[in-house]
Structure formats: C-alpha cells, structure tokens
Amino acid sequence: MPVIPLESDCDNAERDEKAMIEAAQADPAAFELLYRRYLARVYRYLRSRLANTEDAADMTQQVFLQALDALPGYRQHEEIPFAAWLFQIARHAVTDAYRSRRNAISWDSLSEVFLPALEQDPETIVLQEERLARLRMLLSKLDADKRELLALRFAAGLSSPQIALVVGKSPAAVKKQLTRILQTLKEQYHAR
C-alpha cells in the first residue's frame, strides 16, 4: 500500500501564498488576502521602528500601497520569498523616514507591556513587568542595526535566511549576529 505523504502546514501555507500572489497580480482587488496575511507582522515591525502607533499605522498603509504598485514586477519563482520582498519595502520606508526626520527624537520605541492578570499572583505580575521594563531599557541601548535585526526576527517573524535577503547579508552572518546579540542581552538581562 503506497504511503501518501501528508503535506505539512508549511507546505500548505506556501502554496496558499503563491496562489494569493498570482491572484493579486491578476487582479489588484485580490491583494486583500495578502495584506491581511501580513498586516500584523508589518505593523508590528513598523511599530517597533517608529515612535508611535499613528506613524506605524500610516506607514503600514504606505507599505502596502507600494507593494501593490510593485507586485506586477514581482516574480515569485525567480526572486526572493514574498515575505522578504515585502519587508524590503517596509525597511526601505523606515530608512526613508529616518533620513527625512533625522533631527527628530529617536523613533525606536517599544510599547509598554502590561501583563494580563491570568492565573498569576500580583507579585509575579509586578516582577515580570519590572523584568520587561528592564529588557526594554537594554534594547533601547542597542545599536540601530542590532535593533533592526531583532525587529525583523521577533516583530516581523522572519527567519534568518529571510532577514539576510532583507538586509543584504549572508544567512550565516545574520544568524551569527543574532546569536551574539542574544548572548549579550542575556548576560545583561540576568546580571544582578
């Protein structure tokens, strides 16, 4: 009896995405499926790179408008993965904004985290909030390129190879740099 391999979730997701891209290239109205798929990730990445929610929301719109403009030229079989391509646009938009507003205050800003009071005693919540506040402080002291790598990995949800395509480095270099950043952060984070 032949064994039919089951498709993994990843395979399904990739196939769905290819279909979405082809549909959107044929009819811009079908772009909705793609932007809804990536809306939260793009927004979170931009939110981590910009000063406030309003700017992040504005730029999220602009990024998707640009992506819609550029989509006819995107060749999924020959070019980079769609996620990397989309975050190239997002990164480019952030770079533009930084350049045009270089005199403004630092835009890097991460939202305060308020933990839901579920199944945790108040003391635990307070300790966690203090810990997260300390982590935010440590993040704010990182170089911009390091913060960007973290944003691409954690907010955008990109893999190291995808980040490599976005920032123009080798996957090995990105992986190595991410590991170093985390190692340094871990030491600072848990230092007493």
């Binding site: 772009f31 927004y43 403004a104 991410l178």
Partner: protein
C-alpha cells in the same frame, strides 16, 4: 507566548532543548515585547479603502504610477514622496503633530462647506470662490464626502457663473457630472448634500419669481424639480427625502425685514410657513426673534431643530430650539467658556451637529477674548457644556466671526483652520477638550477641508494660479497627496 512548545518551534533557529533557561526566558520576553502591539481596529479597513482607491487609480491609464523594477525594491510610492517633502519642511514640528489636534478654515471658505452641509448660512450670498484656471472647464468648489469612497462635489465653470454637481464612488479619482440633463445651475445656486444618494440644489430665479428646488434620491441618476415657496432662500435643513425646512429672507426697501421658515413633508411638493421672524413679532411667547445674521439651521428629527446666529446687542446667544417642527421657538443659554474671562463682545453660534440621538456639538466663535469653544451635549441638545476655549483669531478683515466653523466627523475628531500670518491647522482628538496647532506650510492655500473619519480627509486647495487641486490625507491631515482627478 506562554506555550513553551510553540516558543521552541517558532524560534527553532535560536532555541534548542539544550539552551539555557535564561536564553529561553529572554526569547520569550522578546517575543512578548515585540508582538504585544496589535494593528489598530480601523487599520485593515483603512488599508482596504486606500488599496481599493489605489486599484481604481491603477486602472486609469492617465494616472498610472511608475512601475517598480522587476523583483527589486520598488521606487518610493508617490504618496511618500509628497509626504517626505511635506515632512521635511516641518521636521521641527513633527513631534508636535503627534499630539496635535485640529484645523479650521477661512470663514469665507468655510462658509462654502457650511452652505454645502446646511444649505447655506443665513443671508450670505453665494460663495466667493477662486476662479478656475484658464483652459480648465470646471473647478472644484465644495466637497461633501460621505465615506472614504462616495461623495459629492460642487464645481464651477471658468467664470464662476455656472455650477454643476459631481459625484464620486472611488474616493475622488473620478467624478461624474450628475446635474439634471448635464445642465449647469446659474449664479446664486447652491447645493445641499445629505447622504450618498440624497442631494438638493436650490436655484434662484429672476427677481419676483420663487426659487426652484432640484432633488435626487439616487446619487444624481434622476432629479425632480419643484418650486420653492419664496424667492430668497437663505438656509435649508433636510432630514430625509421627504422632510425639510428652508428659510426665506424677506427684503423690503433693500433691507432684510423678516425671515420666514417653511416646512415640507412631501419632498418639496407642498410647503407650509411655520413661523415668521420679524421685529414686529419678536416679543411674542414662542416666537423667533428677528436676526439679520442667521448662521445655521439644523433639524435633528421631524420635530426638533435649532436656529443659530450672531448674538444681539446684549451679547445674548442667538440659539433657539423648536420641538414642534418650527412653529414655536425657545432660547437656550450657554455657560461662559471655561478658563477665560467672560466674553464681552458677542459671539457667533454655528449650527449644531449631532452624531447620535443624544450626543452633539455646537461650535461658538467669540470676539473678545477671541477664540472658539466647542460646546457639547449629551442630552439631545437640552443643555450644552463648554469644553475649552481655544484662543485664536483669523486675520481676515472681512470675517463675520473671529474663527471659522470647525469640521467635526464625530464627537472627538475635529479640525479648524485659522488664517493668520500663515494658514494653521488646529486639531482635536478629544472633542475640543484639547487643541493642538502647527504652523506648518500647507501644500496649498485657502483649503476647503472635508473629513470622513479621524484619519481620512480631502482638501480643495488653491494652486496659486487660480486653479484648484484636490488633495487627500490618510493620516488626519499630517500629510497630503494630490489626487489627479478626472471629470466625465
């Protein structure tokens, strides 16, 4: 992310079963920090609207944007180019915008909006408008967008003598002439837009003849024509296709001698005079005192409505309410603005605007001290409360009020443009409790602003050569992109 298995799966490139608990904790916390933000509730909808509009634009051969290089990073979107230029010019003010609040407009220009929304403001003649550029047949004059896609415009021909109604269903990129028979309306005509499908045009006739009323209930596909009960129609308020009121200015000896209010419940076929406001009958109980500077009439339902205008010699507010469809009227008083000495030089009360059956706003411009206070009601207009006093003054010498009429889209978001040394936009995001301003350079002069939400709005701007241009914002007015529209 509290599920450890999910954490290890998601960050398999960084975490393994051999990783230290400290690293796992760090990654879990980073994940929490970086994914705590959710897109605002309205972002997906705003993007859908922008994309739909943009898709329509893409389909237009005349407005095609530059294609991106194959597979590479696309060129910056045209909207961003405009945004960048705009923001560079005001970089030092960028942070001010983050907390800022609102805009207003030259009174003359706002009169255009007000007349578009209320059917005209009292005795004001037809709008004074910028002349159209030579060679262009039509120039936008008023805007009344219903939502992000659908709306109306009032356009004039090159000489400003004739007008036409335009309608869009793609956010302003394409406008269709929808005047009856594609005819134009003569000098002195003015529109009243209520919904995406309901609109009226009041058309004066030669002296001694009553004005005409054109009405469409299907976005201009068809119109019907009726005759109004008077010659000089000053203001109008319709609450649906059948029920409305108009004011008539009775002029004797070259002077305004009375204001009459007429009521229809059959779409304008028949009109009933419900009240006459003149000096002779101003003292009767329930009468409407005569005022030669009425600035607004607004009905919220079949029975309740307000007439507003400039205060009298005693600085009493001209704010009268009716609860019987206009037959009897009762004055409402307003508390003094918060935080400033009691104004002592009168005021202009703009028309009230309701956003629910109970909640509404009432903008009031004061002369001394000069500024604006947006009063609010939460009891169907039974009482009005001051929010805060915004000390501003327009510098135009021919202003009928110290400020224009602010544009509100809900109980919280409003804009006021003030023309001082440079046009300034004031914005509020909390219903007038706080206002922020920015003395930045608008990409156009003398704008007519029209918003449909706290973020999405349009502006008609004067390009400087007499022509008007259309701009759109998707971030509450922080930046504007030009819409190269087509009229067909």
């Amino acid at each position: 992310m509290q599920d450890k298995r999910m954490l290890y799966r998601r960050y398999a490139d960084l975490l393994s079963v051999n990783s230290s608990p400290e690293l796992a904790q760090l990654i879990a916390d980073l994940d929490m920090i970086y994914t705590i933000d959710e897109p605002p509730d309205d972002l997906a909808r705003n993007i859908a609207q922008s994309l739909a509009t943009h898709s329509n634009k893409q389909r237009s051969a005349t407005t095609r944007t530059q294609p991106a290089k194959r597979g590479g990073i696309p060129q910056t979107h045209p909207a961003l180019y405009r945004r960048k230029a705009w923001q560079r010019s005001m970089s030092t003010l960028a942070t001010v915008f983050l907390t800022l609040l609102l805009a207003g407009s030259l009174l003359v220009v706002l009169n255009l909006i007000r007349q578009g929304r209320t059917g005209g403001g009292g005795n004001a003649p037809h709008p004074i408008v910028p002349t159209a550029a030579a060679g262009s047949s039509l120039s936008l004059n008023q805007l009344h967008m219903i939502d992000s896609m659908n709306g109306w415009a009032w356009a004039e021909n090159e000489r400003g003598k004739n007008f036409t109604v335009l309608h869009t269903n793609d956010g302003g990129y394409h406008w269709k002439m929808v005047s009856p028979g594609r005819q134009t309306f003569g000098e002195g005509s003015w529109p009243y837009f209520l919904t995406g499908s309901l609109a009226w045009v009041i058309v004066p006739q030669t002296a001694g003849h009553p004005a005409l009323l054109f009405r469409t209930t299907n976005a201009g596909q068809t119109w019907n024509q009726t005759t109004l009960p008077a010659e000089n129609i000053g203001a109008a308020s319709f609450i649906n296709a059948q029920t409305g009121w108009v004011t008539s200015n009775v002029v004797m000896g070259g002077r305004l001698s009375a204001v009459e209010i007429f009521h229809t419940i059959d779409g304008g076929q028949n009109w009933t005079r419900v009240v006459t406001s003149s000096a002779a009958n101003s003292n009767h109980s329930g009468s409407l005192p005569f005022n030669n500077a009425i600035f607004g009439m607004q009905f919220s339902n079949e029975t309740t409505g307000w007439i507003t205008g400039a205060s009298n010699a005693n600085n009493d507010p001209y704010l009268y309410v009716t609860h019987d469809s206009g037959h009897t009227w009762h004055q409402q008083m307003l508390p003094a603005p918060e935080g400033v000495p009691p104004p002592d030089a009168g005021m202009v009360i703009w028309k009230p605007q309701f956003f629910s059956t109970r909640d509404g706003i009432l903008p009031v411009s004061f002369w001394s001290p000069s500024g604006l206070d947006v009063y609010v009601t939460h009891d169907r207009g039974e009482s009005w409360q001051s929010t805060s006093f915004l000390p501003v003054t327009n510098t135009n010498v021919d202003m009928a009020a110290s400020t224009g009429d602010p544009m509100f889209v809900d109980m919280t978001h409003g804009w006021l443009e003030v023309n001082q040394a440079h046009p300034m936009i004031y914005m509020t995001g909390d219903g007038g409790q706080h206002w922020g301003s920015a003395q930045y350079s608008l990409p156009f002069a003398l704008p007519v602003l029209d918003f449909v939400s706290g973020r999405i709005g349009w502006a008609i701007g004067n390009a400087g050569n007499g022509a008007t241009e259309l701009f759109k914002t998707i971030n509450g007015g922080k930046s504007w992109m030009q819409i190269r529209f087509i009229i067909s």
